[in-house]
Amino acid sequence: MPINEKGGAFNPLIVAFCCNWRSYAGADLAGSSRLNYPVNVKVIRVPCSCRVNPLFILRAFQRGADGVIMCGCHPGDCHYTSGNYFARRRTALLFSMLDFLGIEKGRTRVEWVSAAEGAKFANTMNQFAETISALGECKRLEDIRCVESEI
């Protein structure tokens, strides 16, 4: 089992941005179907995947997230017609830049989950959590000011 720098069991922190219309509903369906996924996945509801500002993702890594996943409607199926296309292009650029900064590609992910895909949501989160566990803690962007304020 991976351990954190203090020697305790490593529990990765994963932030999932989910669009209100499909992916958040997919996450709900995973719940109502009683499909398990790791407790460390925390979902933030946004109206559309295109509402996810790259700054939110950077902020999550600054504040100690070990992985960030963004879920939206399937391409061509966006509630707002075209929002997920913007999101797809923005994240493609952002994730390349993050990789350059030392946030490995495995720590960031985009997945299209429809309201009917509860199982896909749960599977995706399980796989993603496994990947992040294998990668270990992400300290690359951690904001020293956040750490200091905790002391």
């Binding site: 398990n36 109206p47 700054l55 939110f56 997230a65």
Partner: protein
């Protein structure tokens, strides 16, 4: 300074079994501005809601967090409860500790810990909430129906019967659509014209319905309740007010070489024409590409023979601008082109026809006066092969992936009609599957097989070749597991159906989203089947997906009821969670305008105070009635001027911080 109350629901044992609700209530007490927290068995019950109302009054709460099921479930319930207690409904946040916590985790300690984090995130967001107020906009009590087929006619009649004005815009010279071209309708074998034409007459005679035939929608602006539409009324070159519909001009016209669109090109029509006998309006149109007068300037016979002096060669297109509260898209369908299907020799052999052409051949008002005759030599065929699924259920690069839904039934109908009229003629049907889910549909198909002796062969046709005046059809019989060769006299192809090509540009104009096949998408495939995701746009008939006449009429009525529901309101309450522009920050770059899928953003010159300097400059303005609140503009904005109410940058950041604490 906010005063926040947190309410944790047990949801019976749904939450309480894996989340220690007492511990959550205790833990959130130390969160900023939380002055009250409690837990209750069922927050959504009347008891739970009254606990919320009482706590708001007692503690003077300015906002509440309810830790319960998904906001998709009861956000509206709790917003209403808060509103009853005098709180702004947008000062309510939900922490989803059931679907996204208690139901997915087994360990109580884990569940409790996560529930506390989710509750903290909700409190953090709520601390940055501000009261939001929905804008109001008036509703223009008139509906526009685009498309004058059975779907459009039925929707218009239903809306007009409820007392609202309706305009129908139809691009062809007459209403009636594809149904007017049909001979009989399954499964009752009613004559299509007999049941359709009375509805056409009703629509044209209805005092609340206004027809714009030979017209197209040119442009549109506005939003739900308040669309402004420009309609191009194309010049017929005939004055509709003077014309008596006597038909002498049609008879005397010397140019008779244009293909009749109504008869699927199986016969010719004159340059000045009325598409069919029961056309509405019964006013001819001059086809300028075929008319000798328009081409050479000589002729003018129609003008000379018209006693009503209705012919007007100088008539010009007219642009009509009107306002509507609701728009119904009823643009219908067309069969796909058979030109690409070389294996069936459609383009090469005149006796290989489509089902819609067969329909015209069967029709008493059609090119053969209802006698089934081969187009090539006008001889009655002795053997007819029907091929189903031509282009339906195909691969993406060859035809359509979907089932066209109506072909199994109309092919059974055609074979039955053929055998009834000509008992000596053999009918063969090649099929992949026979799909007959509908009231009395399977019985109808079985009658075709059992009573009318139609030969059904499970398999596909591989090749059609012309030989000695016959068509040699080679196909496979999957049940007998052998190749079959049939010497036929006529081959009828059940061509897949696709949305009318005009749907694409209308979809763009009205921002009505479409699927990959150009069918309009509904707001929800099950629960909102007749509404487009764009507010105020409704869907009727085949433009939404393949369906038969009963389904089309039912959907048309459903669309009408939604339109009536909208038009019966005097004012519309908008969604207050829309984008807003901070004018001092905006540099007028147009980035947001380009990404907005609804055209909700415009630019105006406004007086702005920037660093204490007053100046007039170009800034973005959001039309709150049009904005749907996706947030694309907020992320695109390079200067951070755009933000989304209800999901502001600070609110989402606060959630991120709370989760990552």
């Amino acid at each position: 300074m906010q005063k926040i109350g947190v309410f944790i629901c047990w949801c019976g044992s749904n939450i309480a079994a894996t989340v220690d609700v007492e511990a959550v209530a205790e833990a959130v007490k130390t969160e900023p501005n939380v002055v009250f927290s409690t837990n209750y068995q069922y927050m959504c019950s009347e008891g739970g809601q009254s606990a919320i109302r009482n706590a708001i009054a007692e503690h003077g709460l300015t906002g509440i967090v309810v830790c319960a099921c998904s906001p998709r479930m009861h956000e509206a319930t709790f917003r209403k409860a808060a509103a009853v207690a005098g709180l702004n409904p947008y000062m309510v946040e939900i922490a989803n500790i059931r679907e996204q916590c208690s139901w997915i985790h087994k360990e109580k300690s884990e569940g409790t810990e996560k529930a506390i984090i989710l509750a903290r995130a909700a409190v953090a967001k709520l601390n940055r909430n501000v009261p939001l107020f929905a804008g109001e906009s008036p509703v223009i009590k008139r509906a526009l129906v685009i498309g004058g087929g059975i779907a459009g006619i039925q929707t218009a009649l239903d809306v007009a019967d409820a007392g609202y004005e309706v305009d129908i815009v139809e691009k062809t010279p007459t209403i009636g659509g594809k149904m007017a071209m049909l001979d009989k309708t399954f499964p009752t074998l009613d004559c299509a014209a007999c049941i359709l034409t009375p509805k056409m007459v009703d629509a044209s005679a209805h005092e609340k319905i206004n027809l714009y035939t030979y017209s197209e929608v040119e442009s549109v602006s506005g939003f739900v309740g308040n669309f402004t539409v420009n309609i191009r009324k194309r010049a017929r070159a005939v004055n509709s007010d003077l014309c008596t519909g006597c038909g002498v001009c049609v008879e005397k016209c010397p140019s008779k070489s244009a293909k009749s669109e109504f008869n699927q090109g199986l016969c010719n029509r004159s340059a000045i024409y009325i598409p069919f006998a029961q056309a509405i309006p019964n006013v001819p149109v001059i086809d300028r590409d075929a008319c000798i007068k328009f081409k050479t300037g000589k002729c003018g016979i129609c003008e000379k023979v018209c006693t009503a002096k209705a012919i007007d060669y100088d008539q010009e297109d007219e642009i009509i601008t009107k306002q509507y509260g609701a728009v119904v898209l009823a643009t219908g369908f067309k069969p796909i082109s058979m030109e690409r299907y070389d294996e069936f020799q459609y383009a090469q052999c005149p006796d290989v026809i489509t089902s819609l052409e067969f329909e015209r051949i069967c029709n008493a008002a059609g090119p053969t006066k209802g006698k089934v005759l081969r187009p090539s030599d006008h001889e009655p065929p002795k053997t007819v092969v029907f091929v189903q699924c031509v282009g339906s259920r195909a691969t993406v690069d060859c035809g359509k992936t979907y089932c066209s839904k109506i072909c199994c039934m109309y092919t059974a109908k055609h074979a039955m009609l053929l055998r009834e009229k000509y008992p000596d003629t053999e009918a063969y049907v090649f099929y992949i599957d026979v799909r007959t889910p509908g009231k009395s549909f399977d019985e109808f198909y079985r009658r075709a097989v059992e009573e009318y002796g139609v030969h059904y062969i499970k398999g596909m046709v591989g090749k059609v070749a012309e030989e000695d005046g016959h068509l040699i059809v080679q196909g496979s019989d999957l049940i007998a597991d052998k190749q079959v060769v049939i010497k036929a006299d006529m081959v009828v192809l059940a061509a897949a159906i696709e949305p009318d090509p005009t749907a694409r540009s209308l979809g763009t104009m009205f921002t009505a989203s479409m699927d990959t096949n150009d069918f309009f998408t509904e707001a929800h495939p099950k629960l909102r089947p007749v509404e487009s995701p764009t507010a105020g746009i409704f869907l009727s008939g085949l433009c939404q997906g393949p369906k038969d006449i009963p389904d089309t009429v039912a959907q048309a009525g459903a669309a009408a009821s939604k339109v009536i529901g909208l038009l019966s309101k005097d004012k519309l309450m908008g969604n207050p969670c829309v984008a807003g522009c901070s004018e001092p920050l905006c540099n007028g770059c147009s980035s947001c305008e380009l990404v907005c899928p609804y055209g909700a953003i415009t630019y105006e010159d406004k007086m702005v105070i920037d660093h204490g300097v007053r100046e007039t400059r170009r800034v973005a303005c959001v039309n709150e009635a049009v904005c749907q609140g996706c947030g694309a503009c907020t992320v695109t904005c390079p200067s951070g001027a755009m933000d989304l109410k209800g999901f502001t940058n600070l609110q989402i950041m606060a959630e991120v911080d709370a989760i990552c604490r």
